[in-house]
Amino acid sequence: MARQHMHPYSDGAEVLRAHGLHKVYAMGDEEVRAVDGIDLSVKRGEFISILGPSGSGKSTLLQLLGLLDKPSAGKIFIDGKDSDGMGENERAEARRRKIGFVFQSFNLIGTLDVYENVAVPLMLEEVPEDERREKTVKILSRMGLSERLAHYPNQLSGGQMQRVAIARALVLNPEIILADEPTGNLDSASGLEVMKILRELHEAGKTVIVITHDTNIARNADKIIYIKDGKIERTEVLA
């Protein structure tokens, strides 16, 4: 299996870097050190799994990397740019253009149909109507959802909903896909399908980071990062 390091898009450039990352939550008098000193470098085209027990700080780490939250200490560089220097609008734009977020519970918007859900990022990006239609239809057909454009989320299965969510994350063609337990709410068949899609994205050159606590799923990646108590316990590079 030579694909991991040999595919054409991997130029070895660093797309994400965390440096001395800390996130401390105050819980009454107590402090929870959810992320407690993490250094991490993610290269373009890498496929990384983050594995660790519940409460170990995986989600917190991904939220920091995805610019959803700010660290208590430490730095995050996205495409070499220090996120400390980015204002609220710039962070929003980076989330829109550079990062595609996939949630455990899909987070589709219930009042919009499948087509409209996927078109939301294009709408935010002011993409013209024609191009919007073309891109939305294309990504949905790639997700095998061409027959479901006018369906509402509550008319879909869990697997279908997650594929819509992935389509939404991909529609602006971001460099990085961040997925927090994307298979956590799915049956095993749908879970496998979602993992297959993530692997295909990786093969097409995307940088993919997936949180999971399922070792079998983690094994799809190039690299597994084991997290415990907010720290990287060890990193396993898969051959």
């Binding site: 959803l68 929003a92 734009e93 829109r96 939301v120 709408m123 935010l124």
Partner: protein, 405 residues
């Protein structure tokens, strides 16, 4: 920033899936907007019909009355009175003023009138027929003839007085009526004027001479109840009125502002009645506006609840890259649309109500300005009411997308 059209589309999608609560909120705005439009339109209709009726009062007519019209309730003249007596001497004095074309004394008294055994109390006016008809254009004969200056024992009846004044028995030309016990012949019946101010329709008219005889026991020697003046064509009516005022004041030895008489002029009527009806419109509008404000509070409440319920949706939008401004715009517009839907329904409803009211004879004036204003105001009320909730929405953290996972 998102395109305005997309912001609208997003808002309409949310509303299309909205709950009963939203529709009740819209109902609040419907009621408020309808109330404003209906009341303002009726106020304006009233204003317009008043203006129309007042325009029948000739532009060169002045009526002198024995009451100071400017005096407030607390004011008393040198003799302790704001009302006095007008006499035929005053008539002659006015006749000498250069720009006065015609002048005529008028008597108006209430009298007991008997027709075919039915007694009523009615207002009877003694006029100089030739002058009166030239001054008041609404005096038009429907049946029979008008009074002539030399008539004796003749009356002309207003339309309502003839038709319904004596119950079942309609008065016809050549019938006899007894006024304070004296017989009079009805020579004519006037056309209906519809003018509620001049009370021509419910009046009775006879010559000044006849009235003077009839009411001699009630009037002082030479007393008249009012004096009708017509200014010469091309003269300035207000200036003529001032001249009359000065002449009467000098004769009485009164100081300015302490007159015991008053002048009704076209500009006096316009300003007085105009200001009353505008005030009425504003007052009606203000009452209605309160219900609109209540409607706005309803929108605010609904939007606060919507923002709380949709925290996760807002967090998701933020997580996939929406900016604060965009969230603010989405919720402001959504709230504006709630107002606008209420406005549209309210406009349709109030036009229906107003058309029905018009059928029933209410004076109604539907101004396109009011309708356009209603649309704008309803949208603005929505936006203003939704501002604080929308501001809250814009502050929601993208982390809300992941909470409770």
């Amino acid at each position: 920033m998102m395109k305005a059209r997309d912001v609208f589309t997003y808002g309409t999608h949310s509303l299309a899936h909205s709950q009963l609560r939203t529709w009740l909120t819209i109902l609040g705005i419907v009621i408020g907007i309808s109330a404003v439009i209906v009341l303002v339109s009726i106020g304006q209709g009233l204003n317009q019909s008043v203006q129309e009726q007042l325009s029948q009062f000739g532009t060169s007519t002045i009526i002198v009355v024995p009451v100071n019209l400017q005096a407030g309730s607390g004011f008393r003249g040198p003799n302790g009175a704001t009302s006095g007596i007008l006499t035929t001497n005053d008539v002659e004095l006015i006749r000498k003023i250069a720009d006065v074309d015609m002048v005529s004394p008028t008597l108006s008294q209430r009298a007991v009138v008997d027709f075919k055994g039915k007694n009523i109390t009615a207002s009877v006016s003694g006029i100089e027929p030739s002058v009166y008809q030239q001054v008041f254009s609404e005096i038009v004969v429907g049946d029979g003839r008008y009074l002539s200056d030399s008539d004796v024992g003749a009356v002309v009846l207003g339309n309502d007085m003839a038709a319904t004044g004596f119950g079942k028995n309609e008065v016809k030309v050549n019938n006899r009526v007894d006024i304070n016990g004296k017989p009079f012949r009805v020579v004519g019946i006037l056309k209906k004027t519809g003018n509620v101010f001049a009370s021509v329709d419910s009046g009775m008219f006879m010559t000044y001479t006849d009235a003077k005889d009839l009411f001699s026991d009630r009037l002082l020697n030479k007393e008249v109840n009012s004096i009708v003046v017509k200014a010469k064509d091309g003269s300035n009516v207000d200036e003529v009125a001032d001249e009359i005022k000065v002449a009467l004041r000098n004769k009485r030895g009164e100081r300015e502002g302490e007159e015991d008489f008053g002048l009704v002029t076209p500009s006096f009527i316009n300003s007085t009645v105009g200001s009353i009806t505008s005030l009425l419109t504003v007052f009606l509008g203000a009452i209605a506006a309160i219900s609109l404000i209540v409607g706005g509070v309803g929108i605010m409440n609904t939007m606060f609840m919507a923002v709380v319920e949709r925290t996760r949706e807002i967090g998701t939008l933020k997580a996939i890259g929406a900016k604060r401004d965009e969230i603010l715009a989405i919720f402001l517009v959504e709230s504006g649309i709630i107002g606008l839907i209420g406005g549209v329904i309210g406009v349709v409803l109030s036009i229906a109500v107003l058309l029905a009211a018009e059928q029933l004879g209410a004076p109604v004036y539907i101004s396109p300005f009011v309708i356009a204003g209603a649309f704008l105001i309803s949208f603005l009320i929505g936006m203003v009411s939704g501002f604080v909730p929308s501001w809250n929405a814009s502050k929601v953290s993208p982390l809300e997308a992941l909470r409770y996972e």
